[in-house]
Symmetry: C2
Subunit: 244 residues, 2 copies
């Protein structure tokens, strides 16, 4: 049901039994494992896979209509991001929800990395990057923020995109990789950790402050604005005291 995006193969599945199964994705310049990876990542990012859920290799293979091998490969990659965990002979499951301690650690790490990113991005960003960044903030403001999750999703996507863009605009592949390692967790926290709609108004203003500083070309102010944003996110989350 969820592979209708790239899967050109349809119908004809009813088999002449002798033939080799699935004549397979014609030009398909992309490997099955990539497809599985993207599918699983999307499921994790938009909440279809809840924390703690088991991700059966065989089950996923059946669901996506591939053999277990590419699923295994995709899960091995995902494990390195911390979004799924593997136990030796028991299989994979989605990483559990954050404890308050995990959350504190995550924010500490963000405070170490993201202000630096903002500073570097400010020093090196070009016109195109500024446009992208502006669009992210614009999307953030225009995204519907209804109480239903489906409507809130676009807001969260724009939020994540803004931070990713900052990381990319550093021009430093390692800083970008460092944020990417965190970004998945950040997004998962946005989904399950209790970031509420009330957060949005404040957050938008804070993002605008970062954008303004970057546009002005003031690295110190950009770093400070980003640090301020992260600290306030932390304060608001703690104040809400998410008790799951």
């Amino acid at each position: 049901m969820q592979n209708a995006s790239t899967g050109p193969r349809a119908g004809s599945s009813t088999d002449d039994q002798t033939g080799p199964r699935r004549t397979g994705r014609a030009v398909s310049r992309e490997v099955l494992a990539d497809h599985v990876y993207a599918e699983l990542l999307a499921s994790l990012m938009d909440g279809r896979l809840a924390p703690g859920a088991v991700v059966s290799i065989d089950g996923t293979a059946r669901e996506l209509d591939v053999s277990p091998t590419p699923v295994r490969e995709a899960l091995a990659r995902l494990e390195h991001t911390g979004m799924v965990r593997r136990v030796a002979l028991k299989g994979y499951r989605v990483a559990p929800v954050f404890t308050q301690e995990d959350f504190a650690e995550l924010m500490e790490a963000r405070l170490a990395i993201e202000p630096v990113n903002a500073r570097l991005a400010c020093e090196r960003i070009n016109q195109h990057g500024l446009a992208e960044l502006g669009k992210a903030v614009e999307d953030l403001k225009s995204a519907p923020r209804g109480p239903s999750f489906a409507e809130f999703k676009d807001y969260l996507e724009a939020d994540e995109r803004f931070h990713q863009l900052i990381a990319r605009q550093t021009g430093n592949q390692f800083m970008e990789a460092a944020y990417s390692a965190l970004g998945g967790q950040v997004q998962r926290f946005r989904l399950f950790g209790g970031v509420g709609i009330t957060d949005a108004e404040h957050a938008i203003a804070e993002h605008e402050a970062v954008l303004a500083a970057v546009t002005t070309g003031d690295p110190d102010k950009a770093a400070a604005a980003m640090a301020d944003h992260i600290r306030k996110v932390r304060s608001r989350a703690i104040a809400d005291a998410p008790e799951s």
Copy 2:
């Protein structure tokens, strides 16, 4: 030879092939993919696999006497560390050597992360952690630093271990993960990027300064000592002007 308990095919390979491959994993509570991962990582870390070398799936499988599937899984994990690169239908190869620009980016990232690690570690380290850290510095000093690579290896290992310990002692899983993502690259640079023996004397003193600050319990000084160390590593490397 390493599948004493589970291997269906045993015996028949009595033709004592090449290496005395480590006969570990006795009770086999560890999966083959883990073994392959460790083996590949070791090969990357101590220079047996040079940058640019192709890592054939089938070849590695034959070499380690396993089937291609666990090799594939291990490589999928390694790819996420940046130490090997995969091209869609062409296979894996070891990531190429650093350009000077890559090196500058790596050092920039280390400067953003490691002083923070030193500060946090200083605030939270316990007696056992201090002992481990002290032993790393001790090994650093006592390691042979002969011109041959084999003798220099222990020194490099202790160096990497010191920084890893600092990262672990932060008590912050994300900072530790962030450094781990860099650590492999740092180690690869130590091997191939031109860190010479002349570096060792200065570096030892700088490590001792970090250790002293951490032992004293002065977070500011620890962070400053670590930043100083990284800057000097960068300066020395640039001065040596590694031209490969």
